[in-house]
Symmetry: C2
Subunit: 185 residues, 2 copies
Amino acid sequence: MIKIVGVGPAKGYLTERAIKEIERAEVVYGSRRAVELAEKYIKGEKVTISKFDHETYRRIEEVGRKRRVVVLSTGDPMVSGLGKRIDGEVEPGISSVQLALARLKVDLTEVVVIDWHTDECMDDVLKAFEMGRDALILANSRSNVKKLSELANVVVLENLGYESERICENCEIKSDLVILFAKRR
Amino acid sequence: MIKIVGVGPAKGYLTERAIKEIERAEVVYGSRRAVELAEKYIKGEKVTISKFDHETYRRIEEVGRKRRVVVLSTGDPMVSGLGKRIDGEVEPGISSVQLALARLKVDLTEVVVIDWHTDECMDDVLKAFEMGRDALILANSRSNVKKLSELANVVVLENLGYESERICENCEIKSDLVILFAKRR
């Protein structure tokens, strides 16, 4: 049996249900960061995933046929997470999108959430604006804020939930844990 | 000081941070359902909110100037919740939107989340489709599924996280705890 468990964006965000699932697992898979966030509740075998590819996912599914497996996903498994990539039941976690909305005091129904790993990001931002919504963008340190700034006022939200959390307007991105809030002018 | 704390959609979804905030509060406000979900961690005074209006929110803010106040919000305070209505720091919670995505195995970046309490819902659904996205709609038992079915395949997701959870396609809504997934044809 496989449970894909969201561990939240930083320490302290595990839910009661997530903790129970982690404690009961015979094998726990996750990235280094995900394992760190869940560490104190892991009782079974601990396997750090370094390669996130099809082969790894199929191997985990194979183990899941015989043993009680938990796959940790930072944030929420259904926010650009592992939920769609591995066959298993999903246990939600707090995503960095939620922390961004909390800091900005913006409701989820006022934005469109966009994953900036495609060329269409600017198109999607414009479409969100046409809908009368702002855009919340899952980005990384290579994302071109300058280009986005031509279309919108941009708030950079980095390392949310960590001590190094940083929120600034029209500034440079310094971290890979980053969300951009593009607000229509 | 006021913290607006998300308590999740059902039992077991409180985060470690939310639990700490609830335990430390001198006064805890919330709807009957929200108080029920947090009950076992409340140590201070417990006040059930029955009227969700401007006056109530201002009174809570007044108390927050002198005492450590927690306002409970079912789900996440930034998903059609209390986060925007009360002045205070937001502590995220798991929303029913996340449970819906988990059950459907759909990513947040593939949908537009819409609050069906306006006439524009159908317009917004069509705009989501034009963006190439499906729509996830926060609805209630009075929402007109038939009308929506003319535009889309509709999955009804009710009482998510409860024993009475029910997921069915193009069926009638029986509960006020309901989310509709409108999938473009």
